[in-house]
Subunit: 323 residues, 2 copies
């Protein structure tokens, strides 16, 4: 891994679905690593979800807001790199999401970038999303493509990327960006797509598919996704964005069918909403190959493994299902 020497990592938003999976993966893979998680712990059960690593002496959990410089700076001063998973949760409820997104995702990123600059960190990785490219036009998006996000969460990610780009260009902060496919897997909150479909199917409820079910996107098992993100952190070229996906397009209809089958439920539970944008998304992940990363868990195996987890952990998601 060259001259790069990241011993101590600050993981912002490290108690979330992706962030906590990343933390687990690193603690498992690297006996030397020290990890400090900064997380607002607003999601119900967030702290409990880290119970298995709380006793690890290499791990520290700090509750706080990424926008709070008084919290961030003392932590940033002791680490070699920052990785930012912190993001406002999209409720889609029509509530005032914009300002909240701007605060957590953009101002939060700015505070962390400023700390990375001040303490001359070795790396700064911003976890973004493949949705920043906007809906699929022809071929799966390459990293050089123009960002034309259509949704508010994707726009906020793109805006955070723009800020990170400025810190790289103007101040030489060694910024890396990952644009990942939709993640699924154990411990995904039940208000997120795949977990929502799985838990509805297991409960014998109708499984809704947006539009006519033909819109596709790529999905990635959370373990593969965080392994890809780690690969970018250690092997990526500063100033570069990386698509993290497996390059396979799955339609909404296929996803629902696969889930229902894995749950042993009849396909009659599937219902097309005939509403919603019906946008497809796809990223071309070929830039990841030279980094030596390739997904290990493929669709539909990953869905079956995930359904098994939700079946075995019903109390976990019943407790967290606030919808």
């Amino acid at each position: 891994m060259g001259k790069l020497r990241i011993r101590h990592l600050l993981v912002a938003g490290g108690a979330g679905f992706l962030g906590s999976a990343f933390v687990r993966d690193r603690l498992r893979a690297d006996p030397e690593i020290l990890i400090t998680v900064l997380d607002a712990l607003r999601r119900p059960g967030a702290q409990a979800d880290l119970a298995d690593v709380l006793d690890d002496r290499r791990f520290k959990l700090v509750q706080g807001d990424v926008r709070d410089q008084a919290v961030v700076d003392p932590l940033a001063g002791t680490v070699d790199a920052i990785i930012n998973f912190a993001s406002e949760e999209f409720t889609g409820s029509g509530a005032a999401d914009g300002p909240a997104f701007a605060r957590t995702d953009i101002e939060g990123t700015a505070v962390l970038l400023e700390a990375a600059r001040k303490f001359q960190h070795q790396r700064f990785l911003l976890v973004s999303s493949g949705e920043v490219y906007g809906p699929l036009k022809s071929a799966p998006n390459r990293e050089e493509d123009r960002l034309t996000p259509r949704s508010l969460p994707a726009s906020v990610r793109a805006a955070a990327e723009t800020l990170a780009g400025a810190y790289h260009a103007s101040y030489g902060v060694p910024v890396l960006i990952t644009r990942a496919a939709g993640a699924y897997g154990p411990r995904q909150p039940v208000n997120q797509l795949v977990a929502s479909l799985i838990t509805r199917a297991l409960s014998g409820m109708t499984v809704f598919v947006e539009g006519n079910g033909s819109a596709t996107r790529d999905y990635l098992h959370v373990d593969d996704e965080v392994a890809g993100i780690a690969r970018v952190l250690w092997k990526g070229e500063p100033g570069t964005a990386y698509n993290v996906g497996d390059g396979v397009q799955i339609s909404g209809s296929q996803l629902a069918d696969t889930i229902l089958e894995a749950c042993g439920k009849p396909s009659s539970l599937k219902r097309l909403t005939r509403e919603g944008p019906g946008w497809s998304y796809a990223v071309d992940p070929r830039r990841m190959r030279p980094l030596g990363w390739d997904p290990l868990v493929r669709f539909p195996d990953g869905i079956r493994l995930t359904v098994d987890w939700y079946r075995r952990n019903e109390s976990w998601w019943r407790l967290r299902d606030v919808a």
Copy 2:
């Protein structure tokens, strides 16, 4: 002006250089207009600079932060449109600008967009900058060009544009964007480029030019710039960005020579710094033509008029020169 009926405008950042010029222009041009300015009034002398319109019954000044929903919402509820000039001032001092920019420029824009959505405003105009395109590559930038900002202030503007685009695409907010050339003219704060050079020249001080003096950009007299912005507000197509410039490239060396000559000072006061990025910027303003706008004050006449103003108003800038 079609079915558009903007009687009452909320002007965020309306006590700044551009914002206050816009307010003056509108009060002069439209006897029916009502204008409420929301401004944090952080710039020394900001309120005094609006003295000439404070007694106008069509005008109201509210001191407050654009991020404060409790201030914004009651104001937004009474107006037909918002125009956002509010921007953090770039000090370039190496201080923690990023988070402050994110707060004022991006979160502020999000709060105003949310209000525009809630109160179903007729228009939302975001005042952006031609610098969002990044340094000039070959031809002057068209509005369709990709945004590749290099500086922090330009990146923050681009990020605010991205958010505005999401509110247009997702929620149908009738968003307009202006990307303007560098403005100059009376009442420009002395820490901004042209005013800085003029006041230094008038004081007999060295006039510094970045790089080797060959980098160009387009300048616009503030009266023309705000007239162009008003034209976009009333005549522009929602969902569209407009370059506001006069399409003439002026080099840093030319600018300094013109200023020194207008000030009656020797060209020996000019000094090339041989440092700095030496980037050129240029926007192609042809989309403004169908809107019936064309600059009236051309370079170098505008510079001469501006030098006259600074000569006649020395106490104004001496009081405000905190550098």
